[in-house]
């Protein structure tokens, strides 16, 4: 990471800490904001959060490792999460799964080479009456068939 980038990130975290407060109860909100923008929370970002909130970096890391929507490793620009719960499974999740993997040339858990998309599984999205469902970043798509799923993935940058 360049020094300039580091400085920019530090400034950004500082403004987040100012916005949400230095109290421990603000930690998750701050991490979510970093995650939203950078798609992961780097070691440096974790250390900066810890320093500014006056807690041990291990505490920050342990919170990140607990929540499945927070990552400490770099991910793609878009995170696509396919629901793997039984209701979506019964409505044809496997077909979507196969089509998406074939189209992108990666398997679930991987990121495309151009860093455009990371594929993940997720548990129940609360769309069991309209499955199969998937989340693209925070947006939810329902009643998917392989073709619409691919079209959605092709439309994101």
């Amino acid at each position: 990471m360049l020094v300039l980038e580091k400085n920019a990130l530090s400034e950004e975290i500082e403004s987040l800490v100012n916005q949400f407060g230095k109290d421990r109860s603000a930690l998750l909100q701050i991490l979510q904001a970093i995650q939203r923008k950078h798609k992961h929370i780097s070691d440096f970002a974790q250390q900066e959060v810890a320093r500014m909130m006056d807690i041990h970096p291990v505490e920050v890391n342990s919170v990140i490792s607990f929540y499945s929507f927070l990552y400490s490793e770099p991910k793609g620009r878009n995170i696509v999460r396919l629901c793997q719960t039984i209701s979506c499974d019964m409505l044809g999740k496997e077909k979507i799964e196969e089509a998406v993997q074939r189209e992108l040339g990666i398997t679930f858990g991987q990121t495309t080479k151009d860093k455009r998309i990371t594929l993940e599984y997720t548990n129940c999205l609360g769309m069991c009456d309209q499955g199969p469902a998937m989340l693209v970043n925070e947006k939810v798509y329902t009643k998917l068939d392989p073709e619409t799923a691919i079209n959605i993935l092709n439309s994101i940058k």
């Binding site: 109860s25 991490l31 979510q32 342990s62 719960t85 039984i86 209701s87 925070e138």
Partner: protein, 405 residues
């Protein structure tokens, strides 16, 4: 995608989906005063709708009685149980009920702050919910001296989860709000005394809070008319799986599984999983049983499986879910779920003895008593009920659950 603005309210039902005008509930509550609210609520017999079924009036009374300068109302919108989506419908189509329930709770126990803990998967609702809160502020249903009531100040903010099923457990949810890993706490102390940041906190399910305005307007006795003696009122059921009409249904407690199946036009039904992955799986012979705290208790998830489904595959899906979502804090749940999943895989590969299976059922029963929170206490339910209720399919001579079967 659904959004608050474009949706016409076409639903109808006995309680939650009945007529309601925004602001009515709060207005009535302020006229009634704290004691009468608690009295009406107690009379209604309303119990927690998340699944555990704790009497709501008792929870409110306990925290109303606690002495503290700060109290909190938390709305648990961390709906993560597989097959549950009723809170999605309430939050998108009936936000007024949920928020007014929170305001009334705040008034009753003397809290100034409300927090809606919205699961990370529902982040797409955040904008419309925030907009709705803004409208409530404009109408003085939130803010200072609400509806002219001197010294009644209350506001709500929304906090997001980050994809952890266990945070639906109330103490784990509080840990998460406090910026920690969402690991359940030992109870007691209960949140009604020692909750968020150590202050008395009421944590209620979305559906529980949404029932409150209706109860105050129409009365506890009216609420009691629906349902049964021990399970008063109505319940939202999230129906999915093999049926013609999946979706959210509001039905009186005491409805039988058979009646429900008919309503949603399910055919050739082999099994009904009641209460999500942590619930029980009922075979045909038990479809006469009724939904309610006295018979089949549930948070509302109903998953329907027809004759073509492989129950062992269903069970494997559930056990994988619990292995992923166990927080790992206590051993019975962390190791137990892994062992149960291993057993399902062994049955699949036809590599087991009945001694081994019986030992694992015993392990399941140990988990039910030894786990720290509801997750580990209820995760063996589907393992035990599926292996017992569908043993012919899984272990019988035609066992299609097995590879070589």
């Amino acid at each position: 995608m659904e959004s608050i603005k474009t949706l016409n309210k076409k639903r109808s039902g006995p309680v939650l989906f009945s007529e309601y005008k925004q602001g009515e509930g709060v207005k009535k509550a302020l006229e009634m005063g704290r004691e009468n609210i608690l009295f009406e609520l107690k009379g209604s017999g309303l119990k927690g709708r998340g699944g555990a079924g704790f009497p709501t009036a008792t929870k409110w009374m306990l925290s109303a009685a606690s002495n503290s300068d700060k109290k909190f109302i938390v709305c648990n919108a961390d709906e993560g149980e597989p097959g549950t989506f009723k809170d999605r419908v309430l939050l998108l189509e009936y936000p007024e009920l949920v928020f007014e329930g929170m305001i009334i709770a705040g008034y009753t126990i003397g809290a100034k702050n409300g927090i809606l803990y919205l699961r990370g998967e529902y982040e797409y609702m955040l904008k419309s919910l925030e907009d709705y809160l803004e409208l409530l502020r404009k109408d003085n249903l939130l803010g200072i001296n609400i509806l002219g009531k001197k010294d009644f100040n209350f506001d709500i903010n929304i906090r997001l989860g980050s994809g952890a099923y266990v945070c639906g457990e109330e103490t784990a949810l509080i840990e998460s709000l406090e910026g920690y890993r969402g690991e359940p706490r030992n109870r007691p102390p209960y949140p009604v005394n020692t909750g968020y940041l150590g202050h008395p906190t009421v944590v209620n399910n979305v559906e529980t809070l949404a029932s409150v305005p209706h109860i105050l307007i129409k009365g506890g006795d009216w609420f009691r008319k629906h349902g049964t003696d021990k399970s008063t009122g109505s319940k939202l059921f999230s129906v999915s799986g093999d049926c013609e009409k999946p979706g959210v249904y509001e039905l009186s407690w005491g409805t039988s599984i058979n009646e429900l199946l008919e309503l949603v036009e399910a055919k050739n039904t082999k099994a009904v999983q009641v209460g999500g992955a942590s619930g029980t799986c009922l075979p045909k012979s038990q479809f006469h049983r009724v939904l309610g705290y006295e018979d089949v208790a549930t948070g509302g998830s109903i998953m329907i499986f027809n004759e073509s489904r492989n129950m062992l595959k269903v069970l494997k899906n559930f056990m994988k879910f619990f292995v992923e979502e166990s927080c790992g804090q206590c051993t019975p749940c962390r190791i137990g779920n892994t062992k149960l999943l291993e057993a399902v895989e062994k049955i699949e590969n036809d590599d087991f003895t009945f001694l081994y299976i019986n030992n694992l059922k015993e392990l399941g029963r140990t988990m039910q008593v030894a786990s720290k929170c509801g997750l580990g206490q209820s995760s063996p339910n589907s393992f035990i009920s599926i292996l017992e209720n569908f043993k012919d399919e899984i272990f019988g001579s035609k066992g299609k659950g097995r590879k070589n079967g």
